[in-house]
Symmetry: C2
Subunit: 329 residues, 2 copies
Amino acid sequence: MNWQHVAGTEALQLSAIHQAHQLIEPYIVHTPVLQSPQLDELTGASLFFKCENLQRTGAFKFRGACHALLQLTKAQRAAGVYTVSSGNHGAALACAGQLLGIKVTVAVPASAPASKKANIARYHATTVEIEPGMPAREAIIAQWQKERPDASFIPPYNHDHIIAGQGTAALELIKTVADLDCLITPVGGGGLLSGSAMVAHSQSLPIYAAEPEQVDDAWASLQSGSIEPSRGPNSICDGLLTNLGDRTFAIIKQHVNDILRISEDEVVAAMRLLWQELKVIVEPSSATVLAAVLRYPDLFKGKRVGLIISGGNVDLSRLPWPVDYQELT
Amino acid sequence: MNWQHVAGTEALQLSAIHQAHQLIEPYIVHTPVLQSPQLDELTGASLFFKCENLQRTGAFKFRGACHALLQLTKAQRAAGVYTVSSGNHGAALACAGQLLGIKVTVAVPASAPASKKANIARYHATTVEIEPGMPAREAIIAQWQKERPDASFIPPYNHDHIIAGQGTAALELIKTVADLDCLITPVGGGGLLSGSAMVAHSQSLPIYAAEPEQVDDAWASLQSGSIEPSRGPNSICDGLLTNLGDRTFAIIKQHVNDILRISEDEVVAAMRLLWQELKVIVEPSSATVLAAVLRYPDLFKGKRVGLIISGGNVDLSRLPWPVDYQELT
């Protein structure tokens, strides 16, 4: 029996997010919430940034991966786990596996950024390089299901244990900051968004998602009412290129107020602003939330806005703005 | 009577740092203490980074400047204040003045980094450009003392109110992290170091300072037993180019265990490591503390080390490592 199909027949409950938080608390960083008077002035809002870029492995993904592993039985732990990931989920699973003594194998598309591949390898997971795209992804999963029937596939987002884990970031945020008026998170596969949406719903808070125009499949899915495929890999937001899943979409359809689209230039400008004003390293996917607040001011002006900064894994030798080399004297 | 010479006849007491903390608490950010498993592994120590780069105005300097202004009488506040600063102290004073409704004038050497000039101007202080170097600095102060006898000169480090304010960062750090074995801060004029040294001394903790080899006047001063002049402006650590003062040196001589010198290359490597692993923007001056832990491992191996990250004000279009431009597709 495959672990992926054990859960997921009933609607995820908010209590699952509370339970996930209790389980993962010894392993996660209780990430700080930062503010910037400059960004508040610029947006006319009060912005509270939940800094998951300061989470273990540099992304919120560690919450879900760690929770998924903690839900395994002793026998499942002994048999090991595998996944396919071009980035932060792979590193998160590798790190959680290392902490919990569970063998992790990650299939990595050849097209993944070198810095993200290195981030997976550092936690001593076994990595296997595959072709980019869904066919190769599905082929390797099918192969492993046959070869290692006792090992568990830990999907990057479309599973209730993952969704519940990701929701713990929003849970900490609303506990830390009183009287928020709304939340906003990026959306890729929808794990972070759906977990956050359940928390927002429990507090009757509106929740928005930010998505690059060039990969606006979540926006299109919300329009059409069924999951639309990702329209192409042409975004700098390498963490947001995946489709929604049925588990994440079910929650998003029910609880998310709107998906706000932004351009690539807006993402880069917001990323640079966050580096400059918040003094933290954020990856492009994370900058989408500030980009959306700047692009749709009417939704946020005068409001107390909780923004989830999803990750900070970037290659520091390659940046989306021109940089002069300051030689030492 | 000039404000600068009111205090400073008796030794600064630890209670002054506690009082400073109470006074400035409504205005400062209680900055987070961050850790990195990677940096711990690399150094063989447990490193606790007190992130003053996330302080208001992006540097610990706000603590001292805010405290100095809060110590002014009503008449002194009304008469305004002035200073000379090429960077973080000027911005900190401008910001504190804006918050407290005190008129601030800052003389800025023409050679100051553009990003730091902009950081002063944003808080609507009056700025006056002067020639770089001590003679021009002393000339403008003498001129203002004559022209505006009621206005107060707020020095960047050599004053007990400033030292007490800067010491509050270490105070928060030792309250947040139990059982530290030692502290380390950068040293420029010595405000942060002397305030931190008083806190360290009260807990019987050894304290070290990190200083670039190319501007090792604090090291030389500790060797000779009297204040030695800064040996030249040839360091990437633009925050650490000043001489010690008599107030800061008196404390440093008494309580600082050693000054650890590092090379420019070591500073840049440590800066990049901090960006990559801690996911925060630190300026070169701040990176000196990690550089020192890496260079002098025998002092720190197996220890719980508190490091003060002093600031994060850098020009993001000019970095000390080669960066390729990632064009949008």
